[in-house]
Amino acid sequence: MTSRSQARLGRSVLLHLFLTPLALVWLFPLWMMVVFSTMPDNGIFSPGIELLPHDNFLDNVANLQRDTNFIGAIGISVAVAVTYTVLSVLLTSMAGWALARYEFHGKGAVVAIIFGTITLPYAVVLIPQFIMVARDFALANTWIALIVPPLFNSLGVLFMRQAFSMMPAELFDAARVEGVKEWRIFLFVALPLARPMLAALAIILFLASWNNYLWPLLINSQPGAMTAPVALGTLIGLTKVSWGGIMAGAVMLTVPMLIVFVLLQRHFIAGIAAGAVK
């Protein structure tokens, strides 16, 4: 072996010796979530160290369901996340298209307001949103309250504006010369070409809605109207609650997202990374 390849091997070994323990530490909480979700409560609260899964998962799901209607809450979460994702992708890609592809009066102002307020903390709008939705519109504990207010999120507008403005303008001019109506150009030329970006955006938005906690906690606090994270959150800190059940709930919230993450990793990472490469 040459000295160069020896040096490379040495560096490679060092790299893996450092990164492997770090990776294991990082995986540990997720692993323990799975392990806890399969253990009976008296196993979780016992002095021994348990690092491998048991077979109590289904009992824990039953325990959880006894403590709160988690399956129902999952149903609400799925329906809300799907509806929110579809609506948000539609609204923001339309807006992004307009900003990327048309000249119009007030464009500068619209862009300035969206960009200028993007770093304001969400906390600022929390109270007026709550007053408006709960008091003025009397929509607390409805699906509309969960779906519509979060649609203000401008991430998709910026993301899709970027995506559309990177496409060659001649493509749309060609369709225009052929007499294709603007909304059809959007629907049949622009959107199909933006498929990878739409996928990335949809994943990010779905995840955001699925994991959203603070707003659903405030606005939908009645048992029958809670989303899954809120329902699970109400159990944390209670006495006489099944922790195995809570962990089973955490697994049900997390594992589907992990599977999506593994399957669609490329889109996922593109969606997150697009935030930085502006």
């Binding site: 490379r8 490679s12 790299l15 990164l19 990776a23 990082w26 909480p29 997720l30 979530m33 806890f36 979780i44 609260f45 016992s46 002095p47 160290i49 609204l91 923001t92 339309m94 807006a95 592809r101 048309y102 119009f104 009066h105 464009k107 619209v110 307020t117 770093t119 304001l120 903390p121 969400y122 600022v124 929390l126 109270i127 007026p128 949103q129 408006m132 649609l151 203000f152 401008s154 303008a169 603007e182 909304w183 603070l214 994270p229 809120v230 699970l232 959150g233 944390i236 800190g237 809570i246 962990m247 709930g249 955490a250 997202m257 993450f261 593994v262 990472i269 997150i272 990374a273 935030g275």
Partner: protein, 286 residues
């Protein structure tokens, strides 16, 4: 391009409606509410009522102090860790890259509630796996929830675990946009790997790192779920109460909207200041 007002606004209006009603108007409204006494019916305009109280409120200073403390310690640690992760994940020498990526990026998809529950259990005093492991190597167990310092540390550990990979993704994207031939040229110039990192990689990554730092600061500033669920409503005794938690307590437990809005605008002020710093740090050299 031709000017097409009607077409453009047809595409834009649906979003702008939602944006105006649920974002722009609340921003204005929140500002106005912060100048009103909201616990009388009807609300009345009282410019110094909430802001005056805020300035003299020990709970506010406590929450501000805790928030800034977390910011100052957790954000630099996490960003450094994220840089290390990204650089190592980008190494051509790495085998089984997918597994490592999964390990570091997976927390990005985990919801706050789920991981708060896990951390609470992992760090519990007598039965938590962390204390069991500490004892098994001969160390004393730590009471993570009853003492302020370990409780703060726990919050920081949890947030770092959840968000380091997210920042690593951003930094990795930045790394991959640096052209390979820059490094090849440096190698031919006999520049060591370490110096390449210090004098090529880091300067080119600066905008991304600043961006990550700003995102993290603004995110951490609003920290709510972790102290709410892990350390039980900002416990022990308000020791981990953040501005986000104070806002929640005042706004939605005490229904004191005016005071909570003043807290919210304090956060907004901090966010604006930090954004201006970012713009200054990443300004184009003239």
């Amino acid at each position: 391009m031709r000017t097409q007002n009607a077409t453009a606004y047809r595409f834009l209006t649906p979003y702008l409606l939602v944006f105006a009603v649920f974002w722009i108007w609340p921003i204005v409204s929140s500002f106005l509410i912060s100048f009103q006494a909201t616990r009388t019916v009807p609300w009345r305009f009282a410019p110094t009522f909430n802001w005056g109280r805020l300035i003299g409120d020990p709970a506010f200073y406590n929450a501000l102090k805790n928030t800034l403390l977390i910011l100052v310690i957790q954000v630099p640690v996490m960003i450094s860790l994220a840089i290390v992760m990204a650089v190592l994940l980008n190494s051509p020498l790495l085998k089984a890259r997918g597994l490592y990526r999964f390990a570091f990026f997976a927390p990005v998809v985990v919801g706050e509630v789920a991981y708060s529950a896990v951390f609470r259990l992992m760090f519990s005093l007598d039965f938590g796996i962390v204390n069991k492991l500490l004892e098994s190597v001969g160390l004393a167990k730590i009471d993570w929830f009853s003492n302020v310092t370990p409780a703060m540390a726990l919050i920081m550990i949890a947030v770092t675990w959840r968000w380091a990979g997210y920042n690593a993704i951003l930094i990795l994207a930045g790394l991959q946009s640096i052209p390979e031939d820059v490094y090849e040229a440096a190698t031919l110039d006999r520049v060591s790997k370490l110096k390449q990192f210090l004098y090529i990689t880091l300067p080119l990554l600066k905008p991304v790192i600043v961006f990550c730092a700003v995102l993290s600061i603004i995110g951490t500033m609003q920290l709510f779920t972790e102290p709410f669920l892990i350390t039980e409503r900002g416990g022990p005794g308000g020791g981990t109460e953040t501005l986000g938690l104070l806002l929640y307590r005042q706004g939605f437990r005490s229904l004191n909207f005016g005071y909570a809005s003043a807290v919210a605008y304090t956060m907004a002020g901090l966010a604006i200041a930090i954004t201006l710093v970012q713009l200054w740090l990443t300004r184009e050299p003239k």
